[in-house]
Point group: C5
Chain length 354, copies 5
């Protein structure tokens, strides 16, 4: 998962709107795909350069232009000029440490949030900034890296499944947001499963590794919280939007996303709570183990130290030690030692140590 | 008790309103029961299939249709079509990880919340999602598994006890909610009794088992909190509802439920507080036990180690050790040892260790 | 002090307004006392049965009917019928686990809160639910058990001291609330004194008993908080009340109670804070004690273990051990041992252990 | 510093406005001083009795009457009668456990808050309740004990420095409040210096004394917080006051105090946070020390215990032990022992214990 | 980084507006620089004395007067008189412990906040108070010490880069604030990197030094929070300002700063959370290490103590000990000892200690 703050190169005092990319540098070429559709029409293409996508700006159909590679600041600048996007918005698109937010402009709405994907090989969550420009008949989505959660949406458009082909760009935007929020549930499930298995481990056989895992999960949950918390207000603002960009019919679907976000937040808060408790618990479990170790040491030591002392007494070389001459000296001393040991054991049993 | 999040199979990016059940899969057949009544009339039946229940939609009487088995998505879809329920509501009915909420539509109100029951055999709390559709002259309730807290309500309807037969579907909805909230008190009492007995155990004879129980209770309380917290707003919205679905006469009863929910929340917060304190306490108690163990070890060791050293001295084999020849060497050394031991004991008494 | 939740017998799903007593069952007979007064008139009586109190309902004077024993549900029901009290209010009177609240009705105001008294013998705080019905010219107070904080008020009415005889039932209600809130200060003082003495004990000579007391106080404070927190809103509502039940002249007195409640809350929060700190402190103090114990053990062990080893060397029975034959072998070995011991002691001094 | 609650003698149920002093009983005589001034006029006197101060009530000049000794309830009562002050206000003046607040009456404003002074000898903070009555052309201030923070104000009035002589009683009230709030900064600085020096001590050489000091500071900060938190609302209310008591020109000065109070609150919150961290830190430091102690013990014990065992072997008295007869037996055993010791030391070095 | 409160010399009770500098005393001469510009014109000068800067007050161009050295109270007083600044504002400029705030006056806006710079040599963050007076056609900025984050802005003005030369003093003020807020990100990155490296250290090889660093970072974050939290409201007020000082065109840029501040706050909260967790973690790690130490001690001690006892037995000097005469006594005893040791080792393996 990403770090909590990019240790990038934010330049102090540069003019606002100066496009300097802040974030993970991806070495790949940018990839531009266009999907243009309405109830009856469907066209899909991979654009060689951004100029190929310009005509779709004014097509009556819904045009979805998806850009992979926001670190190509020239590309972003061209899009900004052609589609009339404010320089501060362009800056936010390339500064990939944005807090999720929505901003309303006269000719478009700007939405920025985090998409999460799980890298099964590295066993870590990959976070990526996604920006969405919702215009009157186009949607532009900006991503940092290849791969996204949008494939089922592309399929629904291609196969004309569900209502998506009959709706406008606001519904497409809803669909994109919904698939991103759905992906949060997947992450929560992964984290939840990790918590459950750590929880068992914690009480059965905790190791320093367990502690490390709890700590890592806690940091992931703190980060997730940073991503989700502001999203509630984003979706709420979209839903209440009075402009003509978000149609009333889409509003109920946004309400559904809103519910999902609250569910995600609730779960995150529960996880935080449980992980904190688990850290406290680890300490108690470690104390318990220490107690067990100390008991073993104490039992062995307190039984044998007095016995060794007794043996030491009769190992002394004084000339005049009457016991040494006694015929029954040796068995008597054994009897004494066994008695001492039994008394000690009885005492430990009384203390419930054994 | 249920897990904090279902590790189910939420599909990312599927079209909204696509009915895929998320939750515990119950293998039983669905069970549909109908109770139709007014002040003078009473009819009760178990429907073979959902079609038998359709006529009640338009009967003037209050019709209560109860469905067990929300994982039968075909059934839910049929009900949706016949009773005119929005696809997103149907989705929420079958996704059994909903946060409690209420939604107002033109022809019905949708309420979703959690019903809790205690499984005495397994000694665990069973949580189940209950959805309620309140129409103008019918109530449909959806449950995940057989068994509920509604039997006393069925009895009151059958025997015409109290005011229920004279009231409308809003009052029936109130009664269902009231019985569910009452069941929360029962769970709180069970948890409360567990806390009290753990509390005694904690100070008397804590074991790792105690720690485990505290942790389990804490997780249950966190989960309960997730279920109850949003319920306050649900009942509040219902009470303030301006539509014709909730009559003014029912409002004061909803206020009574509202009071109960606040009481439940207060108690949950107290439990959380106490359980956190108990975890801290466990650690202190473990430290105390460690101190006791260490004292025993230290007392034994510090008394006998010097004595053993003295014995060791006179176990040495030097040719010229004058003490060994003394007639009183042995008793003098015993006197020395006893003195050392008594001084040590006096020291420990001064430290208040013994 | 009472438990955080009554482990009583709340019945799930019973009709609202069904009077089942939940709380501590008191075996005594109910006791009904009536005080009827105005500026010039005073009458006091103990009623044999509730019917004797009915006439006072319509007397022009202020009539204060006090009932001890809310578990006599028949009695409560009769009062409900005669004085026109809503069944849900009656239910709340006999369910003695209410959260403090006020409810406004057309012909009366219903107030419920907790009265606290200190049982000096058992050294514990006794909590009891008090319900107050404020009518146009009567006040009915309901208590669980005999004994209350109202005696000074009775005296002021009897002796016509202060303004009470010249005022209406709203002022009497104020006086009752004021005496209950004053009793919270008494409880806070008792808890405060306990905290101060535990605090000294904690740093001087903490024992597991200290820990237990801190925990008990913490639970009492959590419970007190549950009782006081909602009271603020109760008094605030009464003060702002627009109905004719609370006269404007009484409002400034309610403001005075409001101030007191805030003071109580502030103190409770401080106590919570301090008690939490004390729990943390206990752990640190236990760790300190452990360090002291370990130092004693380590000093003794690390001094004598090497010495015992040296003695062991010269206790070996090899035929060819030249040192054993030396004339000065024994005193040289003593010198060596003393040197080792002194070096060890110097080392511990350097570590500031001794 | 004062206790968190006075363990005084609040009487339950006494009539409101009954003057019983609650607080520290001061044995001194009350002291009454009067300063009467306007731009051109200045008069200062110590009054023998309160009657001498009465005439100033109606003088056109600003009259500042300062009373030391609120436990003289007769005196307070006389002032109340002559200046027309509400009995509940008089009660608050003599009950010196008030929460800071402001109350607006027709002919005066009542302000109550805490003045803090540092007793250098006892090294403790002294808290005292100050009540201020702001009338149309007089100010009465009530203090518990001799000594205050008002001397610089008296000087400014005497020497006609600054704007004070040209302003009304509202500006005098501002000046009194400002000097009290300024004194909070002095206390914060004292506490802050204590925290800094404890912080160094904590990481260098913590002792149980350090723990005690952290705990004492934490309690002082909790108490300070109780005094300052409500003050924000007090000054805010004064500033917004619409009555003719607070002139618009004084409002900007009250805003300045408001800023100061927020600064004080911010600092208090930071201190709370840091002190909590320091308590946690102490525990970790204690654990570190324990680890150091245990390492010393373990190193010494694990080196010498095996060696002592070896020595013990060859101290046995079996008739047939071939090694004992060997010519090189003794040096070989020494070599073995030294090897064992070196291996142990190497092991500890690998563990980074030494 | 600065202390949480200046241990300066705030004088209790001095007249408001009396200029006494509170803060770090800088011994340098004050330094006054002026930059005067519009779209076509640019002039830059270092003023010998403040009188040289007076004419710029009324120039039509944007005039930026920057003052280094707020401890020169005479200088501040002269500026106050000439530019008509309220005495309380001047007081705030020289009291360098202000909470960030904005105040609106008829002829100017006063803004105060903290500028942060990193001293690479001392490896610490330097905080300094910056005050900004925004007039109709001038901006005065006040700093405590030489060096600031404004150089890129000076360059943009000099080289006419970006829009700054075409905008008014409000845009210059925005640029100053933006560069200060940008510097917070730099500090967060430095702290973030520290946290990451401590986090690795914590789980791998924690030392008391690690603990000290965590504590130091936590205090820095607490301080940073004090600086940033009120800034949100400052920028929000500026943005909503209805006066003619902040033009509508600048508002969107202020919104951009507002976003940045929220981002900073989010990150600060995450850091606080993580650092608290790290403190808890340190304790657990210390406990783990203790367990490891104790295991080593216990394993060695419990193996050799019984063996040494056995050796002690046969070191006794009783005349009648039959085993001593046995031919195989010595090897049998070795066999016994090895068996005991192996049993012990098997037991420890079962406990998973080795
Ligand atoms: Mg910038
Ligand atoms: Mg931006
Ligand atoms: Mg990223
Ligand atoms: Mg992507
Ligand atoms: Mg904790
Ligand atoms: Mg979806
Ligand atoms: Mg959905
Ligand atoms: Mg849904
Ligand atoms: Mg479920
Ligand atoms: Mg069921
Ligand atoms: Mg009720
Ligand atoms: Mg019920
Ligand atoms: Mg009920
Ligand atoms: Mg009830
Ligand atoms: Mg009770
Ligand atoms: Mg009673
Ligand atoms: Mg009062
Ligand atoms: Mg704690
Ligand atoms: Mg009273
Ligand atoms: Mg009172
Ligand atoms: Mg009072
Ligand atoms: Mg004084
Ligand atoms: Mg000042
Ligand atoms: Mg903690
Ligand atoms: Mg001042
Ligand atoms: Mg000031
Ligand atoms: Mg100021
Ligand atoms: Mg500077
Ligand atoms: Mg920037
Ligand atoms: Mg920016
Ligand atoms: Mg510990």
């Amino acid at each position: 998962m990403g770090k909590i703050i990019h240790t990038g190169s934010r330049k102090v005092g540069v003019a606002p709107g100066t496009l300097i990319h802040i974030g993970k540098k991806q070495l790949t070429e940018p990839k531009i795909t266009v999907i243009d559709y309405n109830a009856d029409h469907f066209q899909e293409m991979v654009a060689e350069n951004i100029e190929e996508a310009y005509p779709f700006k004014d097509s009556e159909n819904v045009s979805w232009i998806n850009i992979h590679g926001v670190h190509h600041v020239d590309l972003i600048e061209k899009i900004g000029t052609n589609f009339g996007i404010h320089p501060l918005v362009l800056e936010d698109i390339v500064h990939t440490d944005q807090r999720p937010k929505v901003e309303f402009f006269d000719s478009y709405i700007y939405i920025v949030l985090k998409m999460l994907q799980y890298d099964k090989e590295k066993e870590e969550i990959i976070a990526e900034q996604v920006s969405i420009i919702l215009g009157s008949n186009f949607v532009i989505s900006f991503q940092e890296i290849l791969g996204d959660t949008f494939d089922p949406i592309r399929d629904r458009i291609r196969t004309s499944k569900g209502r998506i082909r009959k709706q406008g760009p606001d519904y497409l935007t809803y669909a994109l947001l919904d698939s991103i929020v759905d992906s949060y549930f997947v992450m929560l499930e992964i984290i939840g499963e990790n918590i459950e298995s750590l929880d068992d481990e914690l009480l059965d056989s905790p190791t320093p590794k367990t502690l490390e895992s709890i700590h890592r999960l806690k940091k992931e949950v703190i980060l997730l919280r940073k991503f989700v918390w502001p999203l509630r207000e984003v979706v709420n603002s979209l839903q209440r939007d009075e402009s003509f960009f978000v149609k009333e019919s889409t509003s109920i679907f946004l309400k559904d996303i809103y519910d999902h976000i609250i569910q995600v937040m609730d779960t995150i808060e529960s996880y935080r709570d449980i992980l904190s408790t688990m850290l406290d618990l680890y300490l108690s479990t470690a104390s318990n183990k220490m107690n067990e170790i100390m008991k073993v040491l104490t039992i062995i030591a307190t039984i044998f130290i007095p016995l060794t002392f007794i043996a030491g007494i009769y190992g002394m070389n004084f000339e005049y030690m009457p016991e040494l001459k006694w015929h029954l000296g040796y068995p008597v001393i054994w009897a004494l030692m066994i008695t001492v040991a039994l008394v000690m054991l009885a005492y430990f049993r009384k203390l419930k140590w054994i």
